[in-house]
Symmetry: C2
Subunit: 482 residues, 2 copies
């Protein structure tokens, strides 16, 4: 299965790209794969880019796909395919599991994951959590073992604040010592703000960046590199005093977002009780520039960042900075968000007094985010598991996903097909655009009687809700009864 | 003392303003007084405006001042004086305690306070709180007893959601029943977003408004009235479905703000522990449009709204809408904010191991907000009380206030005078612009030895901090050691 890329092949690739500086990207996930494309299609410099991942089966499949002209991440952003094609034409992008790439790189960008292991009970009550740096440390070590003396190591991974100074730098220095050398390179931190979706490439190339270095010369080196791949004329860079600061900025950014989502949860319940349409209320509040970031109600939060970054921060505070106090309220936000889907389940239960066993439920959307095919930590998972545990039959639809890995279940992408059969309940669980102003869906519901429809994201308009209510029951999260 | 405005005087005022519609503004506080000026200087219609307040000694003083050409609220907004002068020239503004005004009014705007009684211990731990509607109900009653059949009653007061429907409407209808009549007027709600400060008038006249009515025709009437006093061409109005919704919007707006301030509190401590400058971090984060509203660290929160509105909401949820659950997290935000000044006190204590008794402390700023002379619920109060209880001597400075009512203490407005004597400690407790880039202050500190300076708002630049540190100690809230 493995199409090994041996060191000779890397050398061949580099000699074809002679004269170009070499960028190695460590990690070919949602960030690294697209970051590689951005580097291969730089603004003011064209790099020879080598994407490196581990020799696991999954990664090897990805590596082979990349080398065979198939980009492994489906995306609604046409630029992804376009950039990939261009790098193919220029032959300046290679994927490999061979760490020989680090030996040749002038710049090494670290885009691997650093996970939080959450221990939660069935109701997503957070019992404990832990951060293991061992995989991350190993990855840094694999660089230090072979990298150039004057390499730039740029950490993009979301790390616990303190990591560049307390973990990355000592490991690199130690590895150089073992090699009988003294590290003369640069270590910096500049976190990504990647949004998979229709602006995938732009979220890297055309967006604001914050950066720092473990020392002044490292920061300078990061700056000059970023300027070659990002449109810094339109999106000026922000340099912070040290790597602690940029590392904190990233987890604070995401904690702010997580907190604002958790904040609206109890107001969502309140609006339901008071018969208020919270969506129109929030729309009105957002008119104020100081209140633009207030969040809408919904089913819950997913994705790789908001669900863990507050915990990364709190862990760092206590472990790397020896504080006695966790970030209590930020941790609490994660907890509230993790449990949000329970509200949807509660509403479904309340509206199915005869019990859920044997009920046929159409679940519209499994992605955690609208208009994206991404199920990482999707809130639909908790809702679905609760429904399955109640012995309901689930029919899953998502326009962006044919298969749901976490639940090991097929997902239908064809909407019309879903409406060929009968259901007892319909749940709009992801706010995909396809579900808005969808006359087919509304007509289907109107043709039925006594269906219960739960709209978790306020996708139905008032007019649609009135039509749906003619013969059926409907409830919207964050909105009083119609 | 009372210069009674009898009904005859009101009639005289109105005959001088014959042909103009009459607006009565109930309540002449921070909102009502300026709202009166806005109505007296409308966009497309010129009203005869009568400001009405209670016959208390304080209010009578205010009423007399207004009628004698002195606007009772000092403001940095020149438009306030300008609008007041214009209304004097046009003779279309009268102040009174005589409810006869309500009998003559076509529009009655309610701008009275509706307070939350908080019971807290000395450390501002919130023990309980209560909302009493009795004063508010009485005020509505005084309108219902005499007002015109077809009057527009426009509530601007921040009320517990549900108040217009469950309180205002029944009272008015009952009073009309007593009069043997059936109310044929209009009741609406449109909350103000008044910001005392340099844009005081604009925060009413040139800003977005949300409105509603207890029925459709009331909402229409509110809309047409608002269009005559607010620049709705530039700042379009937003109509919501019912008064519950607009009432909720107001308390949600302020709860959002309160929550975002409380959120940053634990990050402020974290930044101090990690040696990070949180001000630069937040500045960097604010580059993202989705994160513009993240708040800076500081001493705490004051003012009339953020300190109580989440509680108003939670009270309404439980009392008017019979919910079992309070708005736990929003209540918690109030609690966290109330206690924020304790952190400043803690830092001062830690840096004064010999004890605070007899120490001379210069307190720079007593207002709750920068560049405003307003001490309502200022966080400087808790800090000052803690310092006084520790038997420290306080010297208070504020460029906008000569006297601090809550503490019954003189405040010096002359900055130079403050620097004529020696202190053991200096606390920058309000972020007045006057304290930024203030060479006089920095020079003063540099001329001393072993002073301890606490900057609660990050007003000193890095360069200034380095200068201050030469001979003295300095600490900034939300920033690691320099």
């Amino acid at each position: 299965m493995i199409e090994a890329i041996d060191s000779q092949q890397i050398d061949d690739f580099l000699s074809k790209n002679a004269g170009k500086k070499v960028v190695a990207v460590q990690g070919l996930g949602f960030v690294g794969a697209v970051m590689s494309l951005v580097c291969a299609n730089g603004i003011s410099e064209e790099y020879a880019v080598i994407g490196v991942d581990l020799p696991t089966e999954e990664a090897i499949t990805k590596i082979n796909a990349l080398n065979n002209g198939e980009f492994p991440i489906a995306s609604s952003d046409p630029k992804v395919q376009e950039y990939f094609e261009k790098s193919r034409q220029k032959s300046n992008f290679l994927a490999t599991h061979n760490t020989y790439a680090y030996k040749k790189a002038d710049v090494i960008i670290i885009d691997i994951n650093l996970d939080v292991a959450k221990v939660s009970d069935e109701e997503k009550e957070l019992q404990s959590y832990d951060v293991s740096l061992s995989g991350f440390k190993k990855a840094i070590q694999s660089i230090g073992e072979v990298c150039k003396l004057n390499v730039l190591i740029l950490v993009e991974t979301t790390v616990p604040p303190g990591t560049c100074q307390f973990v990355v730098k000592p490991i690199i220095e130690e590895e150089f010592e073992k090699r009988g050398l003294s590290f003369d390179g640069f270590i910096g931190h500049s976190y990504e703000r990647v949004m998979p979706g229709p602006k995938y490439i732009d979220s890297i190339q055309n967006f604001y960046r914050v950066y720092s270095g473990v020392d002044e010369r490292s920061a300078d080196r990061v700056e000059s590199f970023l300027k070659t791949i990002i449109r810094t004329d339109e999106y000026p860079l922000t340099r912070l005093s040290n790597t602690h600061a940029t590392e904190m900025a990233k987890v604070l950014e995401n904690s702010f977002r997580a907190m604002n989502i958790s904040f609206i949860q109890e107001w969502s319940n309140y609006a339901e009780e008071a018969g208020v349409n919270l969506y129109e209320v929030i729309q009105a509040i957002r008119m104020r520039p100081t209140h633009k970031n207030i969040m809408m109600p919904g089913l819950g939060v997913g994705g790789y960042c908001l669900t863990k970054d507050p915990l990364l921060a709190s862990w760092s505070k206590q472990t790397l900075f020896k504080s006695n106090d966790p970030l209590t309220n930020s941790e609490k936000a994660v907890q509230v968000n993790d449990q949000m889907p329970l509200r949807a389940f509660e509403i479904i239960e309340e509206n199915t007094p005869e019990g859920l066993a044997g009920k046929d439920i159409l679940v519209l959307g499994v992605s955690y985010l609208n208009d994206v095919g991404d199920t990482r930590y999707t809130p639909v998972e908790l809702l679905s598991r609760k429904l399955l545990r109640s012995k309901a039959n689930l029919s899953l639809h998502d326009p962006f996903l044919g298969y749901w890995e976490e639940l090991e279940r097929a997902v239908e992408t064809n909407f019309g097909k879903m409406l060929e059969r009968d259901y007892d309940l319909i749940v709009v669980s992801t706010a995909h655009s396809a579900y808005r102003n969808n006359a087919q869906l509304v007509d289907y519901i109107r043709s039925k009687k006594n269906l219960f429809v739960l709209d978790c994201w306020g996708v139905f308009s008032l007019d649609e809700l009135i039509l749906i209510k003619e013969n059926n029951r409907v409830k919207v999260i964050g909105r009083g009864d119609i």
